[in-house]
Amino acid sequence: MVTYIIRRLIWGVFMLAIVSVITFAIFFLVPRLTGATSESLASRYVGRTASAQQVKVAAEKLGFNDPLIVQYGRFAKGIVTGADYDYGPGVERCPAPCFGYSFLTRLPVWPDLLNRLPVTLSLALGAAVLWLIAGVATGVLSALKRGSVFDRAAMGIALAGVSLPIFFTGIVSLVLFSYGRPLAITAPGGSFTPFFDNPAQWAYNLILPWITLAFLYAAGYARLTRSGMLETMNEDYIRTARAKGLAERVVVFKHGLRGALTPILTIFGLDLGLLMGGAVLTESTFSLPGIGKYAIDAITNQDLPKVMGVTLVAAFFVVVANLVVDLLYAVVDPRVRLA
């Protein structure tokens, strides 16, 4: 078991290293392959107004003329120990962990991300709780009442849920529930209150984004749970559980659902990890100042270091989520502990 954990941890660190290499390659190697020069790369850092001479100096100072491997070394070192950027007007300090330095706003990326993380985490975790409960409950009921009116209705709604994009459901729900046609019972979006300042206000501001985002995911989970339950409820061990004289409720939840849990767990970890790196569509639909919104703004402004920072953080969450799922596997399924 300890070996298993250590092996998974090493694997996780390895994955993160690979991710940093790939991210670096996307932002620095690929442009070169398509013909970008040191100067054209540097021009994105100093802005369009800079003169050719300024760009040339910046390119040299930012190290774009060094071999790529040296550049990657500097980039990786920055993440661990921090970095100093000297692109002409003066030296800018980017403390560790340095995920890049925005030359448009003259700010390191990491503190920005840290500021926005609570928004995204609140959104993702709240929605995750909702969709997990709603999706799994619907799936279980559908499986038990297979072919019933409930089953058909639930699966119909689920199909709609998976198919409708968030900017559609989001805007429709905003119109219906925030702008008073017919009800004005939730916040209109665009505002965020930290949980520790005022929990009630926090929830009030987030309830509509939560429901909208959860609807999208719950639909998939309902379908997944339903098919998983249909399969496990046909297992021999369910028949054994019934033959012992267990009440049907216990058979379904303790024996059936636990057996169907493994695939749900996998998808849940992945989804949550992805969302923590920014629920881009939800955040922009509801104008929430989270990481996703940050990424969109950075892309619009062509603020490359920010985009790169978001990419790294998002990848980090996915890798960590996968690691957690792997460890949870061993808790859920004792057969994994052998490995």
């Binding site: 297992e235 021999d236 061990y237 028949r239 033959a243 004289g245 004792p334």
Partner: protein
Amino acid sequence: MSFLELKDLRVHFPTDDGLVRSVDGLSFRLERGKTLGIVGESGSGKSVTSLAVLGLHKGTRAKISGEIWLDGEELVSASAEHVRTLRGKKMAMIFQDPLSAMHPYYSVGAQIIEAYRIHNDVSKAVARKHAIDLLGRVGIPQPDRRVDSYPHEFSGGMRQRAMIAMALSCDPELLIADEPTTALDVTVQAQILDLMRDLQQEFDSALIIITHDLGVVAELSDDILVMYGGKCIEYGSAEDIFERPEHPYTWGLLGSMPRLDRERTERLMPIKGTPPSLINVPTGCAFHPRCAFEPRTEGKGRTVVPELLETEGGHLVRCHLSLEERRATWENEIKPKLESA
């Protein structure tokens, strides 16, 4: 009244392709301390019968009629909740493949403890002691350590022992074993059969053993019921079935199996064709398309369902051939071939 009595039990499943008559008019009796062997091929209805006795078809689409009397109580008409309280306590079941029949995520001990605590209001610690005690009694070494093992950490034979321990946790009076040794190696099968024989004597319970293996039935059973196409086609004492079988299907089963206790025969005598589909059960005698003696029934085999009639001393046979014909055929045609070298 007998301890267990089935009267004209029918279990039908409506499907898109038509009504599947898995069990179609089955009656038998079983006393405490006795063992009944139910023999049949796939689709004969033997497993469906056992699930019906346990009330496990309740709440499914299965249509059940007839009567099941257990110790003076009728179970077909009883409420699902009441039958549930009997399940595991008064009657218990051992399944074929103990690897898939035990939950892979719970320890063996936890599953036995659960079974015990459904019907006994005791603390976890008491139930755990009981589980260790049971594991020891079914021959699992170091039961106090093995109680926390998971099913996949047990060997096949150990798992089946654990399964038996689970079934015995509440001292059931009726024990149904569905192919209890089919998934096991032959030396382990012998151990499990011995164990079941010993435990039955110890607990004085009624035992139903369901199997396709005539050898296993012969080892344990007092009485034997042969099923074909959802019906009983022959019933009798173990001696009746093995020494004086009267139904052509039973002859066919005996002729199909190579036997270690006899001289090796040159050829096996298989039954032609395949077991019937339960959706399209042949008209008349369900066995007639495979029966070598069907021409001797003058067409009755194809049109009339034969009745289950007693020949002598509780030996029942469902066949159109006359008693004399059957006995003469067995003595002169079948038996010599089975025994010839």
